[in-house]
């Protein structure tokens, strides 16, 4: 069946019937090309999503103090809520099962100076756990630790761009900088995938900040990392219980919408992921539709091809072609064409996706790609259905009596 003669027959037939070959091949190439592009672009959208939402930890609750709007338990409305160290301890004591780490976040702007260079930076006074919530990556030195908190050390961890701005090519590690009038020793330099702004913070122990601000015990806002294993539902329960606990402790009405705010990244993430999933599903449906359209297209063309060749097949049968050889020739030809065309479409599609890269980032498409296995599978499916679609009419044509096939129109 796969002798050189068979292939010569097939190549001759392909060469001499260019339109037919082109039609069949074009359908398959186009089908696979669109399939690959669609899947690739959908993946590109997902990449954008991941880039947007993937640079901070997702198991994080942020708690912001606000101002009450409803009088409650003898307190007037319009009361400013503030958190202090006892809140940290109480939350830790009461929600131990949920919490992985907890950190206050006191945000201040400070003029920072090293030698001749100075600039205004946002300082964040935090606890060691804060590193996880921001996914801060240490380039050199170390992050703040419990000793820093306990000893109220004047240690600072600075962003990559802070080092750039103030130190130029100099190594910042171990140098002393003036932050808002206090001298801090740089113990670490970090980077962050969240963009330039995220690399212009200066981190210091929150206890040190409290000491500088006349030994206050206020802590600004709080960031809690919950244990990932509690899952989305656990996070929601934790969210509700924490909210109730804090309202109880701070005498805020359960109905007061602005006493405190809890931002749950898990909740946002879930919504975003749902959106991304819907996108993926829509993309998949379109891709599947393209594949089905391709299958229908190649089937139609195969029916047409066999019909067109009925007379030729009749002649071949009259001079001694067996039904098996008739079917074999048609199938081999169609599989050969669809394989070459499918491969071409796949190659073209992958080439297009690769050339896009980040050029379409404006349209939320970043580095589109297609899983090689998926592309190959789609191509094989199309080839397979092309063969099936060719087999049915080929079998019928092989069964037609030569006299009927040879009858003059």
């Amino acid at each position: 069946m796969f002798s050189r003669d068979t292939w010569q027959e097939i190549f001759l037939s392909i060469r001499k019937n260019k339109l037919r070959t082109f039609l069949a091949g074009f359908t398959v190439t186009l089908g696979i090309l669109i399939f690959v592009s669609l899947v690739g672009l959908t993946n590109g959208l997902k990449n954008t999503f991941d880039a947007f939402f993937g640079n901070d930890a997702t198991n994080v609750l942020s708690i912001f103090p606000g101002r009450t709007t409803i009088p409650y338990k003898g307190y007037k409305s319009n009361r400013v809520i503030e958190f202090d160290n006892t809140d940290l301890e109480d939350i830790e004591a009461n929600f131990d099962d949920f919490i992985e780490y907890i950190s206050p976040q006191i945000t201040r702007s400070a003029l920072t100076t090293y030698k001749q260079e100075s600039n205004n930076y946002t300082t964040r006074a935090v606890a060691p756990g804060f590193q996880y919530s921001e996914k801060t990556i240490m380039m050199k030195g170390r992050y703040l630790n419990q000793t820093d908190i306990r000893e109220r050390t004047k240690h600072a961890v600075i962003g990559r761009l802070v080092e750039n701005d103030l130190f130029g090519n100099e190594d910042a590690l171990g140098k002393y900088i003036d932050v808002g009038g206090s001298v801090f020793k740089v113990i670490g330099v970090y980077q962050d995938e969240g963009g330039d702004n995220e690399e212009r913070f200066i981190y210091m122990p929150y206890t040190t900040r409290q000491l500088i601000e006349k030994n206050t015990d206020k802590i600004g806002q709080m960031v809690i990392g919950f244990k990932p294993e509690i899952g989305y539902n656990g996070a929601m329960i934790f969210d509700r219980q924490l909210n109730a606990f804090l309202r109880e402790k701070k005498f805020i009405s359960p109905d007061d919408r602005s006493g405190i705010f809890i931002r749950n990244v898990a909740d946002q993430l879930k919504q975003n992921q749902q959106f991304a999933n819907v996108l993926a599903i829509v993309g998949s449906i379109f891709a599947l539709g393209t594949l089905i359209a391709g299958i229908i297209g190649i089937s139609n063309i195969m029916v047409f091809v066999v019909k067109e060749r009925t007379k030729e097949l009749g002649i071949r049968k009259a001079i001694g072609a067996t039904p098996a050889s008739v079917i074999g020739t048609i199938l081999l030809e169609s599989v050969f064409i669809t394989t070459v065309a499918g491969y071409l479409g796949m190659l073209l599609g992958v080439l297009i996706l690769n050339s896009i890269g980040d050029k379409l980032e404006k349209y939320f498409i970043l580095n589109p790609y297609i899983d090689a296995g998926l592309a190959v599978t789609a191509t094989i499916i199309l080839i397979f259905f092309g063969a099936v679609a060719g087999y049915i009419p080929a079998k019928r044509a092989a069964r037609i009596k030569p006299i009927i096939a040879l009858r003059d129109e």
């Binding site: 050189r4 003669d5 010569q8 027959e9 001759l12 037939s13 001499k16 019937n17 007379k311 030729e312 009749g314 002649i315 071949r316 049968k317 009259a318 001079i319 001694g320 072609a321 067996t322 039904p323 098996a324 050889s325 092989a398 069964r399 009596k401 030569p402 006299i403 040879l406 003059d408």
Partner: protein, 234 residues
């Protein structure tokens, strides 16, 4: 070479059945050149198709060179056709995208003959029909007579036991017809058995025997004085 006994064939046309062959008995010896004549609807083409294993009889016996032809599956019929029979059609039935040489070589391809041998043999038969110079032309570049001669070469290339020709001059003018018949006669002179279906008297008289069919039965079967076609060909 061919023995036929009590051959019956009918076609179903909706609810009616059309009885085309109503008990045909005849035999052909090796080396004969037989014309099967009859008006349209007499059953002559049906008979030829059955002889050519392109169609199957309802009942009766058909023995080709000592082999009973019955209950053939498609594959076996194809092999027998390929080995025993050569077809010549009214409308030539050449494959239009193949050259004359490739068309002639095709039966050998289905016999599994090697490419070189195929081409040599095909060329030999093309030469015999006088088309050596045209071997690399496709059918659309050939005249009607040339096409039919290619078809004859194709029918002969597998060296079949019997050549079956269905109205082989039906699409040709009379001059070309005589040229083709001249060729047929020469092939017959070499000892080949040939059956020609025709409704043209002059063509029939260039054979050696005429079998007349009317309404599905043989009404006349006689040996005749052969008219040589060469006298009409310059």
């Amino acid at each position: 070479m061919i023995q036929i006994k009590d051959l019956h064939k009918s076609y179903r046309m909706g609810s009616n059945s059309l009885h085309v062959l109503k008990g045909i008995n005849f035999s052909v010896k090796e080396g004969e050149l037989v014309a099967i004549m009859g008006s349209s609807g007499s059953g002559k083409s049906t008979l030829l198709n059955i002889l050519g294993m392109l169609d199957v009889a309802d009942s009766g016996e058909y023995i080709l060179d000592g082999i009973p032809i019955k209950n053939l599956n498609e594959t076996k019929a194809a092999n027998y056709r390929n080995k025993f029979l050569g077809f010549i059609f009214q409308s030539f039935n050449l494959i239009n995208y193949k050259t004359a040489l490739e068309n002639v070589a095709l039966p050998l391809y289905y016999q599994g003959v090697g490419r070189k041998e195929r081409q040599a043999k095909a060329m030999k038969y093309l030469e015999q029909v006088g088309l050596r110079e045209w071997s690399h032309h496709v059918p659309s570049e050939l005249s009607g007579g040339q096409k039919q001669r290619v078809a004859i070469a194709r029918a002969m290339v597998a060296e079949p036991k019997v050549l079956l020709a269905d109205e082989l001059t039906g699409a040709l003018d009379s001059k070309t017809s005589y040229e083709v018949m001249d060729l047929i006669q020469k092939i017959n002179d070499q000892g080949n058995t040939i059956l020609v279906v025709t409704h043209e008297d002059d063509i029939a008289h260039m054979c050696k025997r005429i079998v007349h069919l009317r309404d599905g039965v043989i009404v006349e079967d006689k040996e005749i004085e052969q008219v040589r076609a060469s006298q009409y060909v310059q």
